[in-house]
Symmetry: C2
Subunit: 392 residues, 2 copies
């Protein structure tokens, strides 16, 4: 078989450099990884118990493709109480994780040729979805505004591309990879320019429960008629490998995405849906114990990375620290993480796949021991490299 | 929000009339349904036990997106032993059920504008996937050749469409909705014309284990370089709601579909992958007990439907009987199933969504009691309608 027999839109998608790097370094038995966005917590016991109950009671048959009615009602209540979402059960589709929520949303809302604004640095999935669906991307660098998107930047992106139909914006709040959590004022500032330009927002709020010292504020409150929210249980309930997400949106969008969803995956696994209903009914505080730990770890990592000479944007949410490699090292992000993995057996993510090659991303959803070892190694590497540089 | 803000390719997809009809009639508390392709068996105990073990051992984190290595190796062996598949673990991607296997395959192999042959009657998912991806469909009616596709029909489809780039064929064997299982000779007859015209085969073999009195024969043996096989555990291990499927194909296709898959769903649920490894390692005979029951039920349904005046193609596989409504009733398939549901509380599938409005589909993956009640009702309805017609 020849490559040119394959859909060029698929060929044009870069494979995930993140997952590949993570996979490659995993062959080192001594590696300590702070790479993937993966809580080191286990699924809370009451949810595991529910899943076992689902298995024992043979909840193994096809669920209705929108998702169990119970689960969609539980999601309606849970997210209303948590963040003020206004969605009723019939404005919610249960997806196979947030990835499928995003993939089906992009596919349903945009047509080939539309243009979408992606503030960078950004989670690489977004660009891949645009390429797969022949949607044009307008990358907007936020590194000079504290990694916060501003109304001016949105307007400039529109003005700079008079030839493009700018139809959408991907907003990730709290942000991956920077950990930035938008304030209510920062979100409110974006609404008028989005409304005026009729730009749809895909609001990826998967880290919404993980904010520190501030409450997550959803743009769907301000722009209900042009926002699609994606969320899920991977981070809030440490259910990454269970693949359970949600799409929230107005009619008729939600009716249309239900078709895309159905013809892509049929439905999320029924036993997982059953467990998710338990998570959203009795698991309102599941994230609290994790957050307490994350907060300690965040402060530990921020302090150590600063001590090691990295510029760090103070992260208000998620479980990432995005840190600028000291200029003295004269290394880009790939050089840094490859050296750190090879010589110090610590795995971090390069900033390059997110769109900024001067930074590295540290996931602190890891054990205290792992974080301590990583910080020690980073400091040692900086010291070693600076020593070499001094000698030269 | 207006409909014209939505991707027209999604708008053009018809919602699943099957699932909607099934959902609608479910509100009748007395309904007995033989509608969906859903085994009435439960997941075998050893697989349930493995899933519980996965939960208890916190197998809840991200699996590598191709799927667990163990599972892909187990699939390589299992399907080699069962059907003679020749695929090694690195030519297999684990998908979210056969639906995602098909969705990602169509997306990866074909580009907008390509044309694909779909023999009818056919599972409606195929047409939806073509519409979603702007692929042209050439429907080839098989009702005049015993619902078996022939090389002549393929060649005619190509010759009749000189303006189209005919790049693929969807082959469903055993077939849904007809229950037809191709013989080795029938499959062998197709290979030369497919090779000559360089037509890729997407071979949907989800019912491969459910054949009666003959062994499933896979076209991938004859056309390894232009076949993609999709399969899964929904039917063989009664795991419909667990969503676990596979794509088998040559390099570089398999490397490219891994990207499509990853950016659509990330991965199949890790606990389900763990259970699936058990299914394929120790569950070689799980389908045997089901098949024994299905065979009895098939004969029961075929006999009763024939007695009721329906023309039935003898089904060699799957768990469906596709039956032609007696002309004396003067009803199309929707009229028939709606009347049967409303007045007799029995749910059957109309043939129309599969592409043949003169037929109905009966799923005999149901209890003996349900089947007996259904056959009684069908006979009663035919009698009632013929009596009315006689009086008129």
């Amino acid at each position: 078989m020849e490559l040119d027999e394959i859909n060029p839109n698929v060929l044009n998608v870069k494979p995930s450099a993140m997952r590949k790097f993570d996979h490659d370094i995993s062959s080192d038995p001594d590696i300590i990884k702070l790479t993937l966005g993966e809580p080191n917590f286990d699924v809370p016991d009451h949810i595991k118990k529910a899943a076992i109950e689902a298995i024992n009671t043979n909840c193994s048959h096809y669920p209705y493709y929108w998702g169990f009615q119970d689960l969609r009602e539980a999601a309606s209540t849970y997210y209303r109480d948590k963040f003020g979402y206004h969605y009723s059960a019939d404005e919610i589709v249960v997806s196979v994780g947030a990835t499928e929520a995003l993939a089906s949303t992009v596919k349903t809302l945009f047509k080939p040729g539309d243009a979408v604004i992606i503030p960078t640095p950004a989670y690489p999935l977004y660009e891949a979805l645009m390429t797969l669906n022949q949607i044009k991307t307008i990358f907007v660098d936020t590194s000079d505004s504290g990694f916060v998107l501003t109304p001016e930047k949105i307007q400039k992106a529109v003005d700079d591309h008079p030839d493009l139909a700018v139809k959408g914006l991907i907003l990730t709040d709290p942000n991956n990879p920077t950990g930035v959590a938008y304030t209510e004022a920062q979100i409110a500032a974006l609404a008028p320019v989005l409304k005026q330009n009729k730009i749809w927002v895909i609001s990826d709020e998967i880290y919404g429960e993980l904010t520190y010292g501030q409450k997550h504020y959803t743009i769907s409150k301000l722009l209900p008629e042009q926002t699609i929210v994606t969320n899920g249980l991977s981070k809030s309930h440490a259910m990454t490998g269970w693949r359970l997400g949600f799409v929230f949106g107005p009619h008729p969008f939600i009716d249309e995405i239900a078709k895309t969803h159905q013809f892509t995956v049929t439905a999320a696994a029924s036993l997982v849906q059953y467990a998710a209903t338990e998570a959203l009914t009795h698991g309102q505080n599941d994230a609290a114990v994790m957050k307490k730990e994350y907060l300690k770890r965040r402060d530990f990592v921020v302090q150590n990375m600063s001590e090691a000479g990295f510029d760090v944007v103070h992260p208000g949410g998620a479980f990432y620290v995005f840190a600028k490699i000291p200029a003295s090292l004269q290394m880009d992000s790939w050089q840094f993480v490859k050296t750190l993995a090879k010589d110090y057996h610590i795995g971090l993510m390069p900033g390059d796949p997110f769109g900024d090659n001067e930074y590295i991303r540290i996931s602190y959803a890891a054990s205290d021991d792992a974080l301590a070892a990583a910080m020690k190694a980073v400091k040692q590497m900086v010291k070693d490299k600076n020593t070499v540089a001094d000698r030269a």
